[in-house]
Amino acid sequence: MVDSKKNEFKKRDLFYLAPLWLLSLIAPDPYLYHKKEFKKRDLYYLGAICLAPLIWSDSHFHHLMVLAGIYAILALGLSLFMGYAGQISLGHAAFFGIGAYTTAILTTRYAFPTFLAFWASALSAAVIAYFIGRPILKLKGYFLALATLGFGEIFLVILRESTDLTGGVIGIFGIPWFSVMGFVFDTYLKQYYLTWGVLIGLFIFSKNLVRSKVGRTLLAVAASEDAASSVGINVPRIKLEIFVLGAAFAGLAGSLFACIMSTANPEAFSLGFTVFIVMMVILGGLGNLYGPVAGAILLTWLIDILSRYQEYSLPIYGVILILLLIFFPDGIGTRLNVRVIYLIGYWAKKKKRDEGKL
């Protein structure tokens, strides 16, 4: 009974598209990336984010959007590193994991208040990123990708093997709800406002970075490191700074994730998850901060919908990703691929042309 109900396609699914569509509207035109100031439209989207869970007061929707918000925080940090500084990291899930485990260990073993553990998670992820990043960031391109990948795998092994600290494969249970000064975030709705509040704060922070000196420095490093150092930019240092910042974002996201799921186990932070986040950044569009948020919502929603089709879900998922990358090479929410528009126009006119009307 329950299963058959699950397999039906519901009209509700279409509503999930609405916030995505809203977000996709603010994603800038690829040729207008440089318009980096906040605009009136940003306020509309803020309103949409605040009202969305009240309009669709469905706990499944709330839960999905909570997850999407957490993934968006992760993708945002990675987007600064990948989309702006032009580097590659395949170890981002590890920092997410470090954040989650820091919160898990501090709250369950040492009875830390979650609010303190939240900041401690960002700090621990940042500190580890600093010591990892210093040697690793000397590498470029594929080598950097491989090194970060290796770091992610090592982190997983440590999680699984150090059973005393992390609970091994089973993980840690019973992490308390997030709470600030006695206010407990115990429903999906409250958690929605918590995660999206954190996301909005970090988004504004990132956007300020991008439109200031730091953003120009990052883009300069991405385009030409020689030219960047010729104007006095300390290339290794800015790379390290942004890597550490991305890790701190991931640490915050991990802490929220641990509190909301109330468990932390190694499977959640595997390579597959890293690829999932990288996919969000790429689908959303590199060099654009709205993209990762839209990408996070899209992928979270897509995976939820497809999970109903069980064994077909992965192939369908793959096909949809490929189609999206063909139609929106600069990221969803940007313009359709010009060539695709041209082809559609060509096909549309073909029939008329054949009939001799054109």
């Binding site: 040729y31 440089h34 922070f205 990132s206 300020n208 970075l209 439109r211 200031s212 000196k213 730091v214 953003g215 120009r216 420095t217 883009l219 300069a220 991405a222 385009a223 030409s224 020689d226 030219a227 960047a228 150092s229 010729s230 104007v231 006095g232 930019i233 300390n234 290339v235 700074e241 942004i242 910042l245 060099g287």
Partner: protein, 256 residues
Amino acid sequence: MSLLSIEEITKEYDGIRALDRISLKVEKGSIKGLIGPNGAGKSTLFHLISGVEKPDSGKIYFKGREITSMESHEISALGMGRTFQTLQIWGNMTVVENIMAGMNRRLKGGLFSCGLWLPWIRRSEKEALMEAKEILNSLGLLGKWESMASQLPYGKQKLLELGRALAMKPELLLLDEPASGLTLTEMQQLSEQISQIRQEGVTAFVVEHHMGMVMEIADEIAVLHHGKLIAEGTPEAVRRDPQVIEAYLKGKRANA
């Protein structure tokens, strides 16, 4: 004291001596030209000065400080701007952002103050924008300040690269073949630009293939041939130097 002085620089690549005990001085407020046939070691010398590569022996002083073993960004931060032989503008930014990024070293602000958009960041961003527009105005690029740098024509991109180096407010400007690939009118504009820079008190060190332009703008010219300094002096003296004539003619004959 000269602004830049190079003492007995030697650089070898796999046993081939690209530069052989070169000593040069660039005086403050002057424009020095560096010419020589292909493969003479001009670009190598520039790489050594700007810190991209390190010399095997010898010392380089800038403003009286030894910079031989410094990183290239440290050298730039001391006040040495440069342009590149192969154009290196940042095509992923707008024209005005290219100039503002060039001002990087003069702008304050770290990760947190920028992220929190503190009042002084807001102020300095505004001032930087105004100043960048002034620089663009003097280069004649103000009309395109909002377009992406990659969309400019080649000649304008060359000018933009010069503007970016000027935005640093450098004391010494290294120009690596500024005229390569430019049309005659663009070259004319560039020479005017360089003499204007000089009036503002910037010292320039120019590597150039285009003899006419160097002869026109430089106060003093040094000639490199096979990694050796074969002549140094005023443009007229260098033009008449038999060794220089021979080096260039030989090069021409070999090419023909």
